[in-house]
């Protein structure tokens, strides 16, 4: 009795950005934004990908959709090798894989009406035209909690939360199986965040959509995810089913991250000060564990080589020599 095959499998995904310098703009180095990342997203489930700014979580999301071309690695979507698809097949596959962006102000074309924004994918893929398109757009708007009468309005007339709903409606237009949610609530007001999180969860229940939910907020990720992966400097340092990860975090970085969250309860005042030091740059050639310079438990072995991701409990993977 094996689990059904996951919807998305990412194997050893790599994305390096060249750094150019000097008068001839020669490549002088690489930013190793994503440096060998592997995970799977189960059908109808959510994988939360957490980490701090610059850890490569957004690049991971964009590279696996091939909005950025990967430097290496393989991505299988429902058995299809996404990494080797040529343009035409990739375009066909895109209707099943969508993305919701963080910034609801920058990601909607200010010169298009709401109807145009939400309906564009329908025309682009020849799904619907004219009256049928208008009907579908109206349905989508209603589904995300907006009035169908908004079709002729422009993005600037809406608040951040409403714009994010428009972005979600657009992503849903082609009935995707998989949506990358890239910090979808980070730019929203506190009282609006819960509305959007509930909407995403409802849509998953209704339509069986799988999410890759990218966030820096461990509280939000705990709420929405079934599985959680923690990234640090282009690598996954810990990955486990949600309950397991929050109950028994193993990697020192995961522990630090959990301890650093300010808890909205004054009775739990005065916890961790955070780890010493700064996140070091992902540019230089480094050996050893990327978290070693900030790790309280580090020793000689950590400096020698990057530890492998090891399974410490069923489904619980940790990249640490002490695992």
């Amino acid at each position: 009795m094996s689990e059904p095959q996951p919807l998305l499998e990412v194997q050893d995904l790599v994305k390096h950005f060249p750094i150019r310098g000097g008068v001839l703009s020669r490549v002088v180095g690489h930013v190793r934004a994503v440096d060998g990342v592997s995970f799977a997203v189960r059908r109808g489930r959510t994988l939360g990908l957490v980490g701090e700014s610059g850890c490569g979580k957004t690049t991971t999301g964009r590279t696996l959709l091939r909005l950025l071309e990967p430097t290496g690695g393989r991505v299988f979507f429902d058995g299809i090798a996404v990494h080797s698809l040529e343009a035409r097949s990739l375009r066909a596959l895109r209707r099943r894989m969508q993305i919701i962006f963080q910034d609801p102000y920058g990601s909607l074309d200010p010169r298009m009406t709401v109807g145009g924004i939400v309906g564009e994918p329908l025309s682009a893929y020849g799904e619907a035209r004219g009256r049928e398109r208008r009907r579908l757009v109206g349905e989508l708007l209603e589904r995300v909690g907006l009035s169908a009468s908004y079709v002729n309005h422009y993005p600037h007339e809406f608040s951040g939360g409403q714009r994010q709903r428009i972005g979600i409606a657009r992503a849903l237009a082609l009935k995707p199986n998989f949506v990358v949610c890239d910090e979808p609530v980070s730019a929203l007001d506190v009282s609006i965040q819960a509305q959007i999180i509930n909407l995403l969860a409802d849509l998953q229940d209704e339509r069986g959509i799988s999410y890759l939910f990218i966030s820096h907020d461990l509280g939000v990720v705990e709420h929405i995810s079934h599985d959680v992966a923690v990234m640090y400097q282009g690598l996954i340092v810990e990955m486990a089913p949600r309950d397991e990860l929050y109950a028994r975090p193993f990697h020192p970085y995961t522990k630090v991250l959990l301890a650093a969250i300010p808890v909205p309860d004054p009775e739990m005042k005065g916890q961790s000060e955070g780890p010493p030091g700064q996140v070091s740059s992902a540019m230089g050639p480094t050996t050893g564990c990327p978290f070693y310079p900030r790790c309280a438990a580090g020793d000689e072995r950590c400096r020698a080589a990057v530890p492998d991701l090891r399974e410490v409990a069923p489904g619980h993977f940790v990249r640490c020599v002490n695992a």
Binding site: S191, A194, L218, H223, L258, A260, G274
Partner: protein, 346 residues
């Protein structure tokens, strides 16, 4: 009872825009005692930043204008001071730290020259003395190797270190009040924890008061002594931090605490607050929260409630708490699940 250092009374700051008058701050009163960490918390557009700018008299004018109120700092009304004297107050008596350290510092000058400039604007000090004071302050904000930091340009430092440098610059003249507007919002959580601890340590070491402005209830709970919750230009709840979190009174604060996806809560659905944050140019009539409120009564659309002491030391602005409807009854309890997406359209 310690003496209040800052006393803000009925402060109102309006912006005259093409779309109408935005009553960004509309009758705000609070007091900060010496040595206190006072948090002003609220969502975007609630007026918390404009309150801070009004205290500093840095409201861009036009379109902004302080239309009424008083801001007493140690017995002196700042709103009546001539501009020249106010310039001396800023930096010397009141220090300020902003959200984006990257844009608040001048990119073409070193950290050292920017801090010494701040010192020499307020104090008779030679370059050497000013430099010594600057290094001393950088050490106090726990920047490793402060002498080296003096020669760095802003782009050579990380966000967390820059924010420490900003704090050093704000505190170098030893102000009695530090206003910190979302000082950790642009930083990663592991860096944020260090900055918050630093602010808390420094106000003890230097004996100053801090007005911390944030949207993050977690941050408030961790560092505040006293909390004022703002909504739509007004303070709706005001008490010491333990009271506000353990026993919130105003429906907005109660709903907000329930809607947070905090660590360890495993709810199938979050208790979202319906509706949108109102536009400051078009605040609802009556209580400004009533279109989103789970216990709104017909009366709420007519009366804009005053902030009143509901229990000793605990103020809230809600007519339902004042025995207005059921005299003598205890405050209504929030329902477990709220009506779903009731006020979804504006």
């Amino acid at each position: 009872m310690a003496e209040a250092l800052l006393r803000v009374r009925d402060l109102a700051t309006h912006f005259h825009t093409e779309g109408g008058v935005a009553r960004a701050v509309d009758g705000v009163s609070f007091e900060i005692e010496r040595g206190q960490m006072f948090c002003l918390v609220g969502e975007s557009g609630c007026g918390k930043s404009v309150t801070a700018l009004s205290i500093m008299q840095l409201v861009p004018s036009p379109p902004g204008r302080i239309v009424s109120g008083s801001v007493m700092l140690a017995g002196e009304d700042l709103l009546r001071l001539p501009p020249g004297q106010m310039r001396r107050i800023r930096g010397e008596k009141i220090g300020m730290v902003f959200q984006e350290p990257m844009t608040a510092l001048n990119p073409v000058f070193t950290i050292g020259s920017q801090i010494t400039e701040a010192i020499r604007a307020h104090r008779e000090a030679s370059r050497a003395e000013a430099a010594r004071m600057a290094v001393d302050m950088l050490e106090r904000v726990r920047i490793p190797d402060p002498s080296r930091c003096m020669g760095l340009y802003p782009h050579e430092m990380s966000g967390g270190m820059l924010q420490r440098a900003m704090i050093a610059m704000a505190l170098v003249c030893r102000p009695v009040l530090l206003i910190a507007d979302e000082p950790t919002t642009a930083l990663d959580v592991t860096i944020q924890a260090g900055i918050l601890r630093l602010l808390d340590d420094l106000r003890r070491e230097l004996g100053m008061s801090v007005l911390l402005i944030t949207h993050d209830l977690g941050v408030v709970a961790q560092v505040a002594d006293v909390v004022a919750v703002m909504y739509a230009g007004q303070i709706v709840e005001y008490a010491d931090v333990k009271t506000v979190f353990a026993d919130p009174l105003h429906p907005y604060m109660i709903s907000l605490l329930r809607s947070l996806p905090t660590l360890g809560t495993r709810k199938k659905k979050l208790d979202a607050i319906a509706g949108q944050v109102p536009d400051p140019r078009r605040f609802p009539e009556g209580c400004r929260f009533h279109p989103r409120c789970y216990m709104a009564a017909p009366e709420c659309s007519r009366v804009n409630p005053e902030l009143r002491e509901v229990r000793t030391g605990h103020r809230a602005a809600c007519i339902r708490l004042e025995g207005y409807w059921q005299p003598g009854s205890s405050p209504p309890v929030a329902p477990v699940t709220q009506p779903r997406e009731r006020a979804r359209d504006v």
